[in-house]
Each structure stands twice: as C-alpha cells, then as structure tokens.
Symmetry: none
Subunit: 417 residues, 2 copies
C-alpha cells in the first residue's frame, strides 16, 4: 500500500530566534503517526513572505499533506493568511460562519469585536474554513491536485483542538492508510532502564510488524506498541498476544493501557469503591488537588483540601499537635501521619492524604536535605507512610511527589480489588 506522506511547516520568528521550543510539530507528527501517515519533513521558518511561499511550494512537491501552524493572529507580523491567499490565487472574502463564531466567542467573554478581529473572518475565497472552537483565528483547508493543505493557529491548545476535531478525522476519511494500531501501556514507579532490562527478552521476541517505543516522562514510562498491517482484527489479536506475555513481567507498575491518565484511573477506583478523598498538601502546594480536579466530575469523590504551608496552620487549621511538630519537625513521618488522619476527619472524607517535604532549591539541613519528602495515606483502618529522597530541582520535586502520591493511592485502592 502506498505510503501517505505529510510535511509540517511551523511559522514564527520566535521559533527561529530560539525563544520557544516548537512542541507543535512533535505533537502533530505523533498524531499523524497514530493514523498511519508518515511525516517526512518538518520545517520551521520565520514570518517572511518569500520564506513562507518557498517552503509551501517545496512541501507541495514532496508530500500529500501539508500542515501549517502559526502566523494567523490579528497583528501585522502575522503573514500566513495573505501568503496562502497569494499562493492559491485567492480573493479575500468575508466568511459569515467565521464572523459568527468570532462574535459568539467575544460575547461569551463579554468583549466587543474590533476591526482587527473582524478582519480575521476574511478568508481566501477558495479555501474551506476550519472552525476554531477556542480562539479567534479560523483555520483554512486548501485542496490542490489531490494534495491537501491545512493552516492552523500556532497557539498549541487551539491547534490541538482543530487537529482532533477536524484535521485528523478529515485525513482519515480522505486518504487510504495502512492499518496501524497503537497500544499504550502506562507504567509508573519503575525507571526506564530497569523496565528495559525486565522486558528485554520479550522485546527481542517481538514480531517484525510490531514496533516498541519507550516514551518516558517524569516518573512515568509509556510503552507504545505499534502494529502495521492490513487487517485490524489480526493486529488486535497480535497485540493482545504480546500484552498477555508482557503483563506477568511488569504488571504491578502498569496503571493503564490507553489514553487514560493516572488521575482518571484514581477517579475510577474511588467511584468503584464508593470512597471520597481529601488532601493536606504542604510541599506540593496544591498540585495534587489541581491534578485530581483536572478530571471532569471530580466533585463526586473529591471533598477538598487544606494547604497549611505555614506550620501554624498545620496546628490551628489541620489539628496537628504542637508537640509533634516541635519534636519531629514538619517534614517527618509523625507529622504526615497526623496530617493525613486530621484532614480525613476535618473534610469528612474516607481517605486522607498528606505531603510534607523540602522542595528546595534551598532550606535543607544535614539531617533533612533538600529533596526529603514524607507522604501519607490514611483511610481510618490503616495509615501508610512513605519517605522520598528526591533531587534539588524544586519544580521536579513538586511533580515527582505528586506522582508518587497518586501512585500510592492507586496501589492501595487496587490492592482492595
């Protein structure tokens, strides 16, 4: 089967000046890969007419699909739309649908439309408008000799919405791709290198039409199996066969096998066990609560949190004993033990969670260095505590502690299955 080829153009001086990392092209190529489209080239250019025109024509000469991001804003340095209009010999016309969408967005935000925003509703007459559900710049689709061009905003969340709701479905419906199946296996709490050792024999025995990729992030490693073929059913069987032999090797570290995130998994476990939860966050400063409340419907199992950043509040807002703090200090097993139990009682939750640590970069002592963190889980029957020894990077310590807390909740609730 003929390979469907795509090229990505990311437009913006800020990319060429090195002021931002171009994460759009990475995300887009990963999404294209999932549906069997091969990205053959990524090009980043500045907001310059000749550069844009040249790059588009070069991409057209090589690829079936050209995806362009950036340069659609309302300001003078945004040149993508006029350049594409010139490239495709277009007249600019007012697109009523686009104008209505922009107007509606503005009314919802209680703002009034100005000429610049109104100008964003003017589009080349020979393009198809691609709705922007979260921003003012509409996207555009051009068709030429069986090749398709999409122009999208450079703002990542606007681009992603557009890709997910319009571009990817359109490409799937328009081009004939080989069947490609991806299977994610999400692990937490095991380092990539140790994971790789554990599954080495399994990895080496993979059939040639199934590829494995390690996608590591902070404290989590995603394994991605990619199977390519012609029959969906066969590929699904092939992948299942591999999963069956993989799980016995690393099952205890696996929390999901699809797009679900750790916080969603925890939501499901809490609902399943009819449990509610509350947090007492010190060193994590709210990140655990934020992560849990990212999930729509979290109010069904999340009661609330206390962030007693100042020690005084650990006593008078949370009810930790003054003696405990004085004897063991805020960053101690005894303190998180009390914090978890007190927040559970105060918030009327089944499960109470606590974090306390030295996030850094400074504030450590020889006995309690930066990166020392205590976390606790209390459910009325038992109280579990864990000591973490992390690094000196503040943001990383906050992140890692949050993941460890979520994993402690997952393990404990899964154990109750």
């Amino acid at each position: 089967m003929k390979l469907v080829k795509a090229e990505l153009l990311t437009i913006g001086d800020e990319i060429l000046y090195g002021q931002i990392v171009d994460t759009n092209s990475q995300w887009m190529s990963a999404e294209l890969d999932k549906i069997g489209i091969k990205t053959i080239r990524k090009t980043s250019i500045g907001d310059t007419e000749e550069e844009i025109l040249q790059a588009v024509s070069e991409a057209e000469s090589r690829a079936d699909i050209i995806l362009i991001t950036g340069g659609l804003g309302p300001t003078n340095d945004d040149l993508t739309k006029p350049c594409l209009a010139r490239y495709f010999g277009s007249e600019m016309v007012l697109n009523e649908e686009a104008l209505a969408a922009i107007t509606e967005l503005f009314e919802r935000r209680g703002r009034t439309l100005n000429e610049r925003n109104r100008g964003q509703a003017f589009l080349p007459h020979n393009c198809t408008m691609v709705p922007n559900e979260v921003g003012t710049a509409p996207g555009m689709r051009f068709d030429k000799n069986g090749k398709v061009f999409f122009s999208m905003p450079g703002v990542p969340y606007e681009m992603k919405r557009m890709m997910e709701n319009y571009v990817l479905p359109y490409l799937k419906a328009t081009f004939q791709m080989p069947v490609i199946l991806h299977q994610l296996v999400r692990t937490v709490g095991i380092p990539e290198s140790i994971l790789a050792d554990r599954i080495q024999a399994w990895e080496e025995a993979l059939p040639t039409h199934i590829k494995l990729a390690y996608l590591p992030s902070l404290n989590q490693v995603k394994l991605r199996l990619t199977a390519m073929g012609t029959s969906k059913e066969d590929l699904e069987k092939d992948i299942q066969k591999q999963l069956d032999s993989l799980f016995p090797l690393i099952g205890e570290y696996i929390f999901g096998t699809d797009e679900e995130h750790l916080e969603e998994k925890i939501g499901q476990l809490l609902l399943k066990h009819h449990k509610t939860i509350a947090f007492a966050e010190s060193c994590t400063g709210g990140l655990v609560s934020h992560t849990i409340t990212r999930v729509a419907g979290a109010s069904a199992y999340y009661r609330g949190s206390i962030i007693p950043y100042h020690n005084e509040l650990k006593i008078n807002q949370l009810g930790v004993q003054k003696a405990t703090l004085e004897k063991y200090g805020a960053v101690s097993e005894a303190t998180v033990h009390e914090m978890a139990n007190r927040v559970r009682e105060r918030m009327g939750a089944d499960i109470g969670i606590a974090t306390s640590g030295i996030a850094g970069p400074s504030g450590g002592t020889p006995e309690k260095p930066v990166g020392l963190v205590w976390i606790a889980y209390a459910d009325g029957k038992q109280t579990l505590t864990r000591e973490l020894r992390l690094g000196t990077d503040r943001q990383q310590n906050i992140q890692l502690t949050t993941t460890q807390v979520l994993n402690l909740i997952r393990q404990t609730l899964s154990g109750n299955d």
Copy 2:
C-alpha cells in the same frame, strides 16, 4: 551590514515519529541569535540518504552556515557521515587524533574499544575533525565556497559542549556579525487585538532597525522588540527610547520586561509591601496555590489555602454562612466575597483570595452557564470582586481563572505603589 544566515538540520527518525521533542534546534538558534547570526530555517528529516543529501544542498543554497545534528552514532541507521562524505566527494581515512580521543574516553570509562567504535574514528579526508569531549562520535567541519558546515552528534549535552567550545568561537572569529538586542515586554489582561490597536501608532512609528513581535499565550501577550545594528550602546538607547513611549500607552497591563513570570512579580510585590496571602479555591482546585508555590521562597508571603470543593466545607471549614450559599449559590458574588474574607481571617493573612465557578464541561444552568466564574480579593480594608464569563473547556477555564486572579492581585498591589 550583511546578515549572516544559518540553517539547522536535525536528523533522526525519532523526531519525525514525534517520539522526542527537538530541543537541540531551539538551543542552537538561541545561541546563534546571541552572537548576531540569524537562523532562517530549521529542518528535521529522517535517517534517509536522499533526504539528507537533498536537505543539505537546499540549505547550502540559502545559508552561510549549516549546522547539522544527529546520525553520527555507531549503528547502521546512522547515515549522516557517509552522506556528507558523498556530498563533499570524500575518501574515508582513519583520523589518529579522533582514535586517540575515543580510546582515551573508553579507558576512562573502563570499557574496551570494539570495531564499531573504532569505525567512528574514520572521517572524510576533506573535513576538519571537531573534538567530542564527552562522547565517542567526533564532529566534522566542512568548508565550501566561503560557506561552513558543522556536523555534530544529536545527544544534547555532546552537541552543546561542541557548540560552546568549538563551533560558536569559530563562527565568531570567521564571520562579521551585526549586534542584535531583544527586549521582552510582558502584558497580562489585555487581548492581543486590543493591545495592537492601542499601540498601532507607536508600532508604525518604530524605526526600521527595530522589529516588533506579538507572542500570545493564554491570557498573556509578550511583546518582543528586536533591534539590529553595530553598537550595543546605541541599540540599548534606541530600545529604551521606545519603551519610554510604550509604557504610557499600556503601562497598567505590563508586569515585566524580562524573563520574569507573573507569579514571581506577585511575590516581589507582596515582599515589597510586607503582605501575606491566602487562597480559598473552589473551581481552580489548587492551581492558584500551586502557581504561587512554584516560586522558591514563597513561604515568606504565602500562608496557605483551603480548597472547599464540597459546599459543606465552604461552611464548616471556611465559615461561609449557610444562608448565603442557600440564597445566592456557591457561584455568586456574595459567596466569593465571604470566602475571601473568611480565608484571610482563618489563615491569618493580610490578603484573602477566592475563586468559585463552573469549570465545566457540564454542570451549567441557564442562569449560571459553564464558564461563569466569580473571583474576589479581600485585604481587610476593601473587598474586590470580578465576574468572569469563560468558555466550555475545563482545563482552559481553570487556567484563565488562575491568570485573572494573579492579575487582580498584581493590579491591586501595584495600585498601592
């Protein structure tokens, strides 16, 4: 003065599959920008001979400097070296200096050299070897008709060491570059289009050697002034002159003129006014607290937070009157008014902040649609409230509300200057 132009080629299938974000090209272009070299294009291609040869020749046709990373490893899928040898019509010869370096590196690591690694010491006869101080793959420099090509490893720390110790010094010594200065101006709370209207006349009056760019993100817009010339002192004067005329136009929206973030600015304002702060977060679920505590040293002004996600806790943990909740509901001006004042008292802070809203995607009513949010600021003397009408995207609503809250704090504290 003639602009010195560079193009970057990053080579590797893992980039095209979207399995890694290409951070090398961002770092390289930022370093080039610092010494006055303009990156005109970045290209990422796979480990394919024809792709590599085509991309190199295209880059040569446009740029004075071509920097290539990736594809120098010892395995069969690393094609950059043979491709460059073919491109420059080279014979492969053993480079004694490179062999000595590799051997020394292996001895230092207590490993023995194998044939693959020994092969890495073979280089094209017409290139200049660029030492790799932290890896086994030597870099290469080719010179052709006054244009220079550097080939470097894709491993970021190997590439960076090579750039800092050899490539950048060589380019500085070889090319005559103009001076380039960048000045960031960070604004919050004003949409890009309205900002552009306000400063239109100023923008149109900018001298030709100073360029303006709008860098929008969620609820914030960065303005970037880029000045090019021959004297750093003159350019600094020119930029200052423009800032002096810009501030009167949009001063109230500007919170920084460098790399500083909004939460850092707020930390500085709180320290300056010797004020402490506490948060009662409902719809933001902890993101405001997390953002504030991302800043090292936040404990000097941040007391803590209560996240009364469940209404019951708004009453018994925060002290909001039952009657208020029953009469006006949780998402109302009256409720956030009380929340802000109560959290201020309970946490013993000078300033209390509250958020309550319908983050969505569901849970709205005709009177209180998804995206309706109330925020409040209380400092004992005054209580300020704001109504926000946001969209239907949960993550975005949580983000936007957080930025609005931070900006309300900034504005109020700046007003006290």
